[in-house]
Symmetry: C2
């Protein structure tokens, strides 16, 4: 059984990003978080660690859950070479906060404009976790064409963009979720070549339905250090899988920073232009 591991790619990413940072690509990351959520705080901390390795600057902004937040986010819009990361979950009107982020400063691809780009088929606009899945699939030369892919979980930031990726790569995709009947889910698990777990829940996969030609990609991470799969497969239980930790996880932050680099490259001289020139 092959383990699909993110660490080598992560090392390459860090080297590449460091190199860019040393060659006058100076980005400043505004890390916006909600102190009442542990996940929000710990996400910001992980980003800071990686930014420090790379050599890019960061400013943290603690959400006050008042109108001041709108003003603060709005101010960032006009700052040259700024990137904004909204470390979710946040309690206070996420949609409005996102609407204040400039799409050119949105490496998490949360703005409607960037989501529209992905929906139109541009795979440069995958959010960080989906981009990490893409990069693992490509790194390990997994052929998707005509394959049956089951994505379980339909969040805008993980499940849905992963679905978009696989369908663009010519897989026949099924998107399952909390309203999928258990019997249908099990049937789909049996029949799929690739199964992506993106629910944040364990216990959805009954291992008796798995076989040694299948690949499982696990995007979950639980506080006890396990993924959505919740067990370590035996040697012949699957063809390949992403362990947790070590699979998708190591890539998410460097994929986010690479997204930032891409947006910066695309739009470096455009902040002065009117948006409606697009």
């Amino acid at each position: 059984m092959i383990q699909l591991l993110g660490k080598d790619l992560r090392k390459k990413d860090i080297a590449e990003l460091k190199d860019k940072a040393s060659k006058n690509v100076n980005l400043t990351f505004y890390l916006v978080y909600d102190p009442s959520f542990n996940e929000s705080c710990s996400y910001v901390n992980s980003i800071i660690k990686t930014l420090d390795k790379v050599g890019w600057q960061h400013v943290t902004y603690k959400l006050t859950k008042s109108y001041r937040d709108y003003g603060a986010l709005n101010k960032i819009r006009s700052i040259k070479d700024s990137m904004v990361i909204l470390a979710r979950p946040v309690l206070f009107d996420e949609e409005t906060l996102i609407s204040l982020i400039d799409y050119r400063s949105d490496p998490d691809m949360l703005t409607d404009f960037n989501k529209g780009k992905l929906y139109s088929g541009n795979l440069n606009y995958l959010p960080a976790t989906a981009m990490s899945v893409r990069r693992l699939v490509e790194y390990y030369n997994i052929d998707c064409k005509g394959k049956k892919v089951l994505v379980i979980g339909r969040s805008i930031s993980v499940g849905l963009p992963i679905f978009m990726y696989f369908q663009r790569k010519n897989a026949t995709c099924t998107l399952a979720h909390s309203k999928t009947e258990k019997i249908d889910l099990n049937k789909a698990i049996i029949e799929s070549d690739i199964i992506v777990l993106a629910t944040g829940k364990q216990g959805l996969i009954d291992r008796k339905f798995l076989n040694n030609k299948q690949i499982i990609i696990d995007c979950g991470y639980h506080s006890n250090g396990t993924g959505d799969l919740g067990f370590v497969p035996n040697d012949n239980e699957l063809y390949a899988y992403t362990p947790v930790p070590g699979g998708v996880g190591p890539l998410t932050i460097t994929s986010l920073l690479k997204n930032a680099l891409l947006l910066h490259t695309l739009y470096k001289n455009s902040k002065e232009k009117e948006l409606n020139n697009f």
Copy 2:
């Protein structure tokens, strides 16, 4: 077997739109078409007929396939209460043409911003054919929750938005396409509760795989007046279906005009505002 028919809804639409047009909602439709494509011309003609019934103005613009087109489209941006319909197919750089359309004047929901809204789950932003499917499903009280839906065809303007609709309505959706293996397609046809045809090709459905609990929604239209299904089902062959002509087709243009009305209502006073206030 139930026939799902668009004509009653179309009548209601026309009455509603006429009423709006008579009450000072004055929209002008810029119909941009490519004379070298019959489909482009005939689409514009059908829109004109409906606009004349409703009482809204229209201006046709014939693509010259030169840089003049960019200038012309760009000028429309600043016209108050204008709506732009790009009657595809067009030969000349569709993506650039679309990028010149203001999202507030885009009832076909072709711009990245509007596509992002749909991708985020806002079903007001379905393009005309997908919106027509949604409206038929709702008019006939078809319950989607937990149902297995197979959408065949993944175009940005038809198949993909229909997929988005059904998954938002809690169906378990599979998106099949030209790269789907025939054996997988047949299996999915057998197992699905609702099958949507959106390929522009006939002969994909072997009727021996159908059963009388299934619903077929046919979005195809061929020059001989038939749909993608290509045959008329027998009385007990299906639970329900949309005949061609008469099913989805009658709704597409009024759904497009209702989309225009929605955008107009949302943004009526915003053309003067900067886009980056969003």
